[in-house]
Symmetry: C2
Subunit: 215 residues, 2 copies
DNA sequence: AGCCTAAATAAACGCTGTTCAGTTTCTAAA
DNA sequence: TTTAGAAACTGAACAGCGTTTATTTAGGCT
């Protein structure tokens, strides 16, 4: 009757460990399936049944490992955040803060244009943002953003700007980069001829750099 | 047998006119219902059945007046474009191109923050953009955008900038404003404390104006 | 071997956009 | 005024979605 309270035997322990490991493996199996489908068909083409089919389980099984589709969304958003961080890492090696800032910006835009789906997931998708603060992806995103702000701060400290309002400078530069990428990702560049679009983006990036020099 | 080819009688004509009028009235009835539901429940809360219920027709009837949900979406997008144009109109009265440009930008951001749903519909919603070029909303949006570019051109002509690259200047300013609004609309300002957000937007707008002065 | 728990699933629910066969309403000609 | 035909409208269904439930299957413990 009170067997629940008995200490675990060694075999029980190892079995419990295996169970836990299997649970984690199943979660990552589901996630990697979601990842693949997302990359192939985009977020719209991603649904529970297609995940289930790919891993050869029933749709209901998914719900034993993820509470709902949002949890999968959060996990995927974490992958996007990691991909973005990895893409930006090369900039961190640059010592001069000004050059680091420029390269960071260039890589940020580059990431957005090369991986529109990831960017979309991170910054453009409607999601239950009320809960995202508690998610890993949020923490990671904040860390990357902090790195950006710190680089701006380093530029301020090194007197690259006249202005010392680090937060506003960072935010303003981010707005530009985010706006630029967003117009591409959500296909609002159609008002420009296809062959002009990328050039316009490059010119605009160069222009914001010039503008920032005068700050 | 060939009665199809007979000339319409006068009564037939007037009836045909009434029919046409009724058709147009029905279309606008559907659209205004969609408009209301959209304003109350947002785009996600808008569906064919809710429109049908509101106008007291069956869902199938909707399809006699609009090909599919996308056509309603386009019509709604036109309303959003019209609302945006109306919001920006006051700027057109300002004679000095530089002040006109600033006010245009201020009103643009103001519109986005005051009507996030409209802004979303215009610039952030995933839509079958392949066909939107043929829609009225696109024409209207292009006209408003042209007004913006012309204002930048007027500033260039009046030597407000050293640079003469009108297109890139306009695009860069647009990127900033669009990015700023997008971060609000898609709730990515959560990394800043609520009470700081609007102030940051204002400061950033002031900063981009300052930056533009040095162009 | 038998019991209990945990894993997996088939089937359903309620929601969506959309279509179609069938009914009702209206109009034009006899 | 009657009647054939067209036009307007709708109930019911389909296929797809996220999610839940009752039930079956499998695995580990006594």
């Amino acid at each position: 009757m009170f067997s629940n309270f008995a200490l675990f035997s060694e075999t029980t322990m190892s079995i419990a460990e295996r169970k836990e490991r299997e649970k984690a493996e199943m979660r990552s199996l589901i996630l990697s399936a979601a990842h693949h489908i997302f990359k192939e068909k985009g977020y719209d083409g991603l649904n529970i049944r297609s995940i289930a089919e790919r891993i050869e389980y029933s749709p209901a099984t998914i719900y034993l490992y993820y509470k709902d589709k949002n949890e999968i969304f959060y996990a995927l958003q974490y992958e996007a955040a990691a991909a973005k961080r990895d893409h930006l890492i090369p900039a961190a090696a640059i010592e001069d803060p000004w050059n680091r800032l420029i390269e960071f910006g260039r890589l940020y835009v580059d990431f957005g244009l090369k991986h529109p789906d990831w960017y979309d997931l991170l910054f453009l998708t409607r999601a239950p943002m009320e809960h995202v603060e508690n998610q890993e992806c949020w923490t990671l995103g904040m860390a990357t953003h902090s790195f950006f702000v710190e680089t701006v701060q380093a530029c301020v400290d090194a007197r690259y700007f006249k202005s010392t309002d680090t937060q506003t400078i960072a935010y303003t530069l981010w707005c530009h980069a985010h706006g630029l990428v967003s117009l591409f990702v959500r296909e609002r560049m159609r008002m420009y001829p296809p062959e002009q679009r990328e050039e316009l983006a490059k010119k605009s990036f160069a222009m914001i750099v010039k503008m920032a020099e005068g700050l």
